[in-house]
Amino acid sequence: MRYQPVIGLEIHAELLTDSKVFCTCQNEFGGSENTRVCPRCSGLPGTLPLLNQGAVRLAAKAGFATDCVVHNYSAFDRKNYFYPDLPKAYQITQFEHPICTDGHITVTGGKDIRINRIHIEEDAGKLVHDDYEGISMADYNRCGVPLIEIVTEPDFRSVEEVQDFVEQIALRLKYAGVCDARMEQGSMRVDVNISIMPVGSTEFGTRAELKNLNSLKAIGRAIEYEINRQAEILDNGGTVVQETRRYNDNHGDTKALRSKEEAHDYRYFPEPDIPPVLLSDADMAEIKASMPEMPQTRFARYTKEYGLPEEDSRLIISNKEFSDFYDEAVKVNPDYKQISNIMLVELMRHLNESEKAVSDLLFSPADLAELVKMSTDSVVSRNAAKDILKIMFDSGKKPMDIAKENGFIMDNDASGMDDIVSKVLSENADSMESYRNGNEKVFGFLMGQVVRAAGKGANPKLIKDLLTEKLK
């Protein structure tokens, strides 16, 4: 490629608080127009913002999750601009003193992507447009929903790095309970700043900001499109304009948003209604201690300590609840490989087929651990274990109860089985004769006859051993 893309990201993530960031309205997705609104978040005159402690806590967690420096002192500023979805005509954000700075995440290929800052801010409302009447209607339900904005340095040089970073950020935020990171619902929104420069150059080109990217795939397609678009401009001797472009998923292209009549001058200044926030070292330690194990740490544990394959480890950690379930199960029965296998193959299949989540499961991790132990201890056969799991999945019953009720318990009594085998052989003298004459195929038939006579609890290995012995 003749051109090298240079990419930086701005990621907005909605915080999983109970209330909004500056008022006590419920922080929840959707709702009918202006039903989750109060004088504060609708900007009525005389009202004042009240900072939510939970939002500060989650922002600090986001910082810890991305190896940022979380600051003892952070402060809020006003960003002034007029738009009908912003009732106060200023957004309260952190400009001069963000809560977190200087983080990083290692992406595929081992490269470090630097995070410049993470700051807290409020979301704006939603506009519904009516083309027929030529109006826009403002709904303030989303006004004051707490956000963090994660700003990276322009360290990305490929789509793969960007996608890996976004995947990792989403996963870490989910693990930390900071954000549910659903790009398609808009609870995590990624804006891409992209420019290109000739390969070998060190001087960045003019960048475009891409918006409306609501999936990893869209991010990839938009970046590819933009690289080509900018390359074409440069190849034709043109210059790239600094502008905001909106990605259209149906066409796979980006279009410039109508440029504002004037350059933005946000006139930031310290928010006089909110005193700066002091996080003591003790508060910081307490918040840090409340952080769950991060996915990258789990990955290392699974691959290095548990000896799981990288692909399996990646699959398990990609869903925190699934991974939590796994961890609980291996605490009871440290058979890392077998538990991983049954979860990734059987359990995953049942979850997918029934479109259920781990939180819907009717049985506990300990039940699963017991089931695996029953199988490895030859209390039930491997095939029976699969059947038992399905019944556990549907009913929530205990594995041992299911095994007993359904006669899955393997009969390991050699003397009893010996009689059955002898009886079956005497009833099938022809087959026995045929086997001894070299027709080894009839072994399977004889196995089947013994299993049928012995019932579901028959231990296949025991039967096989006895049959082999008696057919000699």
Binding site: G46, L51, P272
Partner: protein, 478 residues
């Protein structure tokens, strides 16, 4: 009549709350046509308040404020009662909630007579910029009341309420109190909740009290002070008991006289009156200390830059969309809000918004806004040093007495410079009181101010009260 006396009469049933309210409403009806101190008179609501108050009095469960008729500045939100900020922009705005101060006073069954006139959005020192017409001084109807709480001060001076709630961002309680011959108290920043006070400059605004005496201001402050979870800048440091030091011996108290407050630009009659007040205190055994606030020369500029910057941002929400005047003009969003703001705001408000955006905009921020906040830090530290040498400061409230309507309020520069003696108190967040200390040759009241340490309203009130007891006060001849 003193609030304490009114309380006594109500409790002894020498007058009923309804009779008292009717007396005030009658007087408003008669006199306010000429003074124009009220934008909205709540006759019905006040009588209802009074009836409920009387029930409480009759049941023996009255407290300090039950049945006391007050006026409320029209930038303090009152549930279901129009709150206009004296602006066309909010001429029909009805808040769905009460300011914290109103919530507190309503619980005590205070009687709200109405909402008082003011400079539009509290920006001004004359009370002539009101969309509802200017306020006239009860001492001389051809003169201004000062502002921005001119309606509040005039309603007290004219006997159109027992006491008043105002607001003070750069002198808006003290200066009109001075011009109208009454007492105005601006509490420490954070002493009174700002929840429900329609913001002008958030870091400087404070609700204050205007009354007939220092004692009355303390009496009413007792009902409105205190930490409020709805206002993150309100403080837990206030202790109340604001009249508790009244009557105590003030001898030995050190009163600072900052020399910069008595320099060029101060009217001679005002200077003499304030200096004789200083002599009076000296005679009572107070120690006068000469102190200095070297950065006073920067104060007006710093104040106007900070307050206008905050105002530009605070007033951006007025676009005609959610509330307030919505223009019939404008085909697109931008034109609609520009026209609404053009129609809704008066000239002084527009100037402040322009100045505020000048201070904040790219290329000017560091030289103007940022430097103004540096000056703010400097002034605060100079005050801190001063208060190591004395407990109070004595200063003039304004360079002049009330001037003739039309004389200077149309010259913004002259108006701004006249705020020199009041703005540092807001910049430093201090408590201060203004009371009358003399009359000029035209019989207009002269105001002096006592400035106290943060959260030391008690001392300010008691030292002011001591002066008022021996001062021969003239009532406005209405």
């Amino acid at each position: 009549m003193a609030l304490k006396k009114l309380r006594d009469m109500l409790d002894k049933k020498e007058i009923s709350a309804v009779e008292l309210t009717e007396q005030y409403l009658d007087k408003i009806e008669k006199a306010d046509k000429s003074i124009n101190s009220y934008i909205t008179v709540c006759a019905e609501g006040a009588l209802e308040d009074a009836k409920k108050a009387q029930e409480k009095i009759d049941a023996g469960s009255a407290n300090a404020f039950t049945g006391i008729p007050i006026s409320v500045k029209d930038n303090i939100c009152t549930m279901n009662v129009k709150t206009t900020c004296a602006s066309k922009m909010l001429e029909d705005f009805v808040p769905p909630y009460d300011a914290t101060v109103m919530e507190k006073l309503k619980k005590s069954n205070i009687v709200m007579l109405g909402k008082t006139n003011m400079d539009e959005f509290a920006m001004g020192g004359s009370s002539q910029t009101s969309y509802f017409g200017g306020v006239k001084n009860p001492y001389d109807l051809s003169r201004v009341t000062g502002g921005s709480s001119g309606g509040a001060a005039a309603s007290v001076a004219g006997g159109l309420c027992a006491a008043a709630l105002g607001s003070d961002t750069g002198g808006s309680v003290r200066q009109p109190a001075s011009f109208c011959g009454v007492t105005g108290l601006k509490p420490t920043y954070g002493a009174v909740s700002r929840w429900g006070l329609i913001a002008f400059a958030s870091s400087l605004d404070q609700i204050g009290v205007i009354a007939k005496s220092a004692e009355d201001t303390g009496y009413l402050l007792n009902g409105i002070y205190g930490y409020d979870a709805n206002d993150a800048t309100s403080s837990k440091k206030s202790e109340g008991g604001y009249t508790s030091l009244i009557g105590s011996d003030i001898s030995g108290i050190k009163i600072g006289v900052p020399k910069e407050f008595f320099g060029d630009g101060l009217n001679d009659e005002v200077k003499q009156a304030v200096l004789s007040a200083a002599e009076y205190y000296k005679k009572l055994g107070c120690e006068l200390v000469e102190v200095s606030l070297p950065s006073l020369e920067y104060a007006v500029s710093a104040y106007y830059l900070i307050s206008s910057a905050e105002a530009a941002s605070n007033l951006s929400r007025f676009d005609g969309i959610k509330y307030g005047t919505r223009s019939g003009l404008g085909d697109d969003y931008n034109d609609l809000i520009k026209n609404s703001r053009r129609e809704g705001f008066g000239n002084e408000v527009k100037r402040r918004i322009m100045l505020g955006n000048y201070a904040l905009c790219s290329g000017y921020y560091d030289a103007y806004y940022k430097n103004a906040t540096r000056i703010r830090t400097q002034i605060r530290s100079e005050y801190k040093e001063i208060f190591e040498k004395c407990s109070l400061l004595l200063t003039p409230t304004a360079p002049t007495t009330a001037y003739k309507i039309g004389e200077q309020e149309n010259d913004p520069v002259k108006m701004y410079l006249a705020d020199i003696y009041t703005v540092t108190v807001n910049i430093a967040g201090l408590p201060a009181i203004s009371t009358t200390c003399g009359y000029d040759k035209n019989g207009m009241p002269i105001g002096m101010s006592l400035i106290g340490k943060p959260f030391d309203e008690k001392t300010v009130i008691s030292v002011c009260d001591r002066f008022e007891r021996d001062f021969d006060k003239r009532e406005a001849a209405l």
